[in-house]
Symmetry: C2
Subunit: 219 residues, 2 copies
């Protein structure tokens, strides 16, 4: 079902983390249905009412379960949102890892263009959800989660850079950090300001060049 061991692993780093673990695993079919309904309801409330109005009561109501039932599966509100953000981050990470695999062995210019395109695709696909995720991640302490996801991406990009056909003296590790920060950071801040659409379009056009110029300069 949808509540995997990934979660357990995720929490080993922090002391407070144990509190975020789902309280119980479903043992009967109906409880699995309940969990799914809660997850779906959370996303629905998030998108229709906004992060500010996302309350446990509202989610339970939308999911058609009592508030008590919800607390049987998620020990608190944070755990619920954690699960939602985690799923979103997993999706993003998968896309980026696939892009990295596809770009393996290409030259630096191609890699710069490919990574930028992949990032804009995965972020632009559902910009509303992305914004909501940022809000949740900041309101609760989900920095670890994003941290891990980013670290994973950075590592893959590091390996990718190491494989570049025209690589010379470029340091894969530090370059991967800068590239990751540039991509994710710039898109994030632009998504949060006004008239994001047109500015994102500008960024989408310019960022490949910026990444490419940096890679060539540092090579």
């Amino acid at each position: 079902m949808k509540h995997p061991s990934v979660l357990v692993f995720a929490f080993m780093t922090r002391p407070t983390a144990a509190l975020l673990k789902p309280r119980k695993a479903p043992r009967q079919a109906r409880s699995a249905v309940t969990i799914d309904a809660i997850q779906i309801a959370t996303i629905q409330v998030l998108l229709t009412d906004g992060a500010g109005r996302l309350t446990t009561t509202r989610v339970a109501e939308r999911a058609g379960v009592s508030i008590g039932t919800m607390y049987q599966y998620y020990p608190n509100k944070e755990a619920l949102l954690f699960a939602v953000v985690e799923r979103q981050l997993d999706r993003i990470t998968t896309v980026m890892l696939t892009a990295a695999r596809d770009l393996h062995g290409q030259d630096l210019a191609t890699i710069a263009r490919g990574l930028t395109a992949a990032w804009f695709n995965v972020k632009g696909e559902d910009a509303v959800t992305s914004r909501a995720m940022y809000a949740i991640a900041a309101e609760f302490d989900l920095a670890d989660l994003m941290s891990r996801s980013m670290e994973q991406g950075m590592h893959a990009i590091g390996e990718l850079l190491r494989s570049a056909s025209d690589r010379r003296s470029l340091d894969p590790t530090s370059t991967a950090l800068v590239l990751t920060a540039m991509l994710s950071g710039s898109v994030r801040v632009v998504m949060e300001i006004e008239r994001a659409e047109e500015k994102l379009a500008c960024l989408r056009r310019e960022l490949p060049l910026a990444c490419q110029a940096y890679l060539v300069a540092v090579n």
Copy 2:
């Protein structure tokens, strides 16, 4: 007769500036003191207890005023945080505008180095506060505020780029957007992940080169 739900609704929709403005201007010396105490207390609670534990009660207590007094000056919690974030952003904007003035007429490489240095200085100066600001800005809808601040910075950087001694075909507006997003975004995401210190150091070393390479490539 009270209508709290109406108020809550208003505060959840896009914040009209009026709702966030301080409720009254101080007319006597003691109320100016009160306002200052509240501001200071907010930052203290933010830094010692964290954004999640920042409650109006706690701030009032720390400021040594009653909760009622606080609501006489700030119509709600959001307005209070708005004021704090606004002050912080003003500080940052001032520093960046000064840097832009000092770099006027220099070449692109010098501009890239100068802007990066200024940004790291102003953000690194109080990294803890910076992180807290990010959290507040996301939890409440302070996007407008950050939007305006960023727009101001972008405009100044645009003018700066236009003044560059070695400028050729570079488009000041779009380049300023990308530069601003790259700088603010990359520092922001790195500040939020783990082992930020060493990664910030890496970014501080590499980012001037990245900006410079981009400016030269687009010129």
